[in-house]
Amino acid sequence: MKRTSTARVTAVAAAALLGIAGLAGCSSGSSTTGSSDQGQSAGSVSASNSSSENSSGGTIKIGFFSPQSGSEASDGKSALDAAQLAVKDINAAGGLDGKKIQLVQYDDGSDPKQAVSIATKLTTQDNVAAVVSGSYSDQTLAAASIFQRAGVPMLAAYAVNPGIPGTGDEIFQIATSGPVEGKAGAQALIKDLGAKKIAIISIDNDFGTALVQGFTEQAAKLGATIVSTNKNQFGEKDFGPVIDKAVAAGADGFYMVEYAAEGQQFLTAFRQRNLTQKIVGTEGIDSTQQFIEPNGKLADGMVFTTVLNRDSTDPTTQAFIKDFTSAYGHAPDMVGATTYDSFKVLQAASKNGTTADNLKAGITDLANFQGVTGTVEKFVNRISVHPVELQVFKDGAVHHYGTVDDPDIINP
């Protein structure tokens, strides 16, 4: 009996251990050591000559971290691909204030603890001049305070947690702020698509919380009613019951704040029920290989908020889409576009020099920067201000649907 009890305690402890790992994995997944695009084990340095100084000898070290393993590795790959393309393009154009970029990149393993180690290494051993985070909010937020203390500017490419730029004056956010994107979603669903009774289905993390907060505020202003709000964990598969309850409550529109995997399951359940309610999604599903290509037809007619306009006539955007597709065999997505723009912002910010102070001042003073995600008007409280793009699924592909550029909405 004692043996059985001990075994039972062991089993429960093991389950708890795995459960904790799984919960962490909701936004982190399993951790690994750094990976390399050049076969090194801990990190990699790409482009031009090696240098121990961060901005001497004609080179400048820029740090980069992204999840190349763990549950977020697919977005991490997109981010790293874009980072390498950006470095190639910037170096071909003369670099940052004449200095070629050395990209010092690490795999954060979808793990905030790993991100902290990487931030420490980037600031104390690699001595980078600036850093781009190609990672999720958890890792970015965990690393941000290290960069802040070290006086190294960091740009968060696609992490939307509003607390990230709040870390300090070294930390900037290129991505649309979560509440701003939420407000734009409300504008699209209520004003453009005419929904009045909204059901919210959202992933239960900082991304979902930030967007739902903005959406709810704007929905109230527009006079719509929220009939239900359901928050699910990563990996949720069965959205049928909550859809049924929302429909029974009279919902004529759904605001879906999900990532690719959960978004696919939501839409599958929605289509199985032959419903006609309007759906607005978010940039969480703006992933070429995880969602757009495999689920394009499933999502037909759905509008979502993002930053990349595939139909843009701007030559910068079209050149990026063409070059990325040519280099990697598939079209870029929001993650890739914002990562690319983060490096281009550093390039634009380096006009007066490449010291950390120069770069920070350059980013702070940036105005009307034309990136592949459109025009960044300025940074307010270190958050980029730019219109929110609305894309729509049509015939298995995504196209321009509209733009939300109301200053009352897009100013964080």
């Binding site: 043996r3 059985t4 075994a7 039972r8 062991t10 089993a11 429960v12 093991a14 389950a15 708890a16 251990l17 795995l18 459960g19 790992a21 799984g22 994995g25 997944g29 399993s30 690994t32 393993s69 763990g70 549950s71 590795a73 697919s74 991490g76 790959k77 239960d204 239900s228 359901n230 928050k231 699910n232 964990q233 990996g235 949720e236 598969k237 069965d238 049928g240 019951p241 909550v242 049924d244 309850k245 690719a260 995997a261 696919q264 399951q265 599958t268 199985q272 029920r273 290989q289 995880q290 495999p294």
Partner: protein, 288 residues
């Protein structure tokens, strides 16, 4: 109530397929094999890969089961057998380690992006009481019944079941009585991993997705089910799988996402263990 029943029983069937192998292994060796969940992922990947190369889904499933059975044989021979004398905690930690390593290996082999597994299982399907019931759900229901009856029959009424029970009761005595204990252990690992692989294929078809981390949640839910069923009691494990599946579905259906599915599973585990500390079917590990 009907939607919750359908969903609960189909999910319960998947849990039963996954947890049956580790439950049998526990009965034999008194160790918990978390890496069994990696067989679910491997089965799904092999199944979808064969399917994408033009084979029918059921052949893909068989291929996945065969590949997973080989994995099980290799792990028991080269990982677990050498560690058995080091105690159950060493084996448990090793199995968690190998599970994580295998997940990353799958990510390296098949890439980080999800694969779709678009199969229409040619079984009767439609809408019952307003709830869509797909062919694969019908298949899962059938498999659930087959597992329940099959396990009861094999373990209780066949020579195979007898050797398992004898080995579980006393390995040394079983060996002395002429039972090839190593072969029994190998057979149980192969069977358990193959069943997990079948769960993986059904899971992948049901939700039309295969990802490297699809085994994460099943890995620890499997442990809850084994404990709830009464450690090492395969029939208890199957019963617990359906109890957990139904509890999750009923809560989701009536209260939405008021609690994460995993939290529901562990609350059920705690509640039942408070009432029945030895699990649902506690009468010894040798009872089938």
């Amino acid at each position: 109530m009907f939607p919750a029943l359908v969903d609960g029983v189909t999910v319960g069937a998947l849990y039963a397929l996954l947890a049956l192998g580790p439950s049998l292994v526990y009965g034999l060796l008194r160790v918990l094999d978390v890496a069994n969940a990696a067989a679910l992922v491997l089965g799904a990947y092999l199944g979808v890969t064969l399917f994408r190369h033009g084979l029918p889904w059921w052949l893909g499933a068989l291929g996945g089961m065969a590949g997973a059975a080989i994995l099980g044989l290799l792990l028991q021979r080269f990982l677990y057998r050498p560690l058995l004398d080091r105690g159950p905690l060493v084996v448990l930690v090793a199995s968690i380690g190998i599970f994580i390593a295998l997940e990353e290996a799958f990510r390296l082999i098949w890439g980080p992006y999800p694969y779709q597994f678009p199969v229409n299982v040619p079984l009767p399907h439609g809408t019952i009481a307003g709830t869509p019931v797909t062919g694969v759900q019908v298949l899962m229901l059938v498999i659930g019944v087959v597992i329940l009856l099959g396990s009861w029959w094999v373990l209780g009424h066949t020579r195979l079941g007898f050797t398992w029970r004898a080995t579980a009761q006393d390995r040394e005595t079983a060996r002395a009585m002429g039972i090839n204990v190593n072969r029994v252990i190998a057979g149980i690992f192969a069977t358990g991993y193959a069943l997990a692989a079948l769960a993986g294929v059904l899971f992948a078809i049901r939700y039309n997705t295969v990802t490297p981390d699809m085994g994460d949640v099943p890995a620890y839910k499997m442990l809850a089910i084994i404990v709830l069923g009464g450690l090492g009691n395969p029939m208890g494990t199957i019963l617990a799988a359906f109890v957990i599946g139904l509890a999750e579905s009923v809560v989701n259906t009536y209260w939405g996402f008021i609690l994460p599915r995993d939290t529901i599973a562990f609350l059920v585990l705690i509640a039942i263990l408070l009432i029945r500390p030895a699990g649902l079917l506690p009468k010894g590990v040798t009872r089938a």
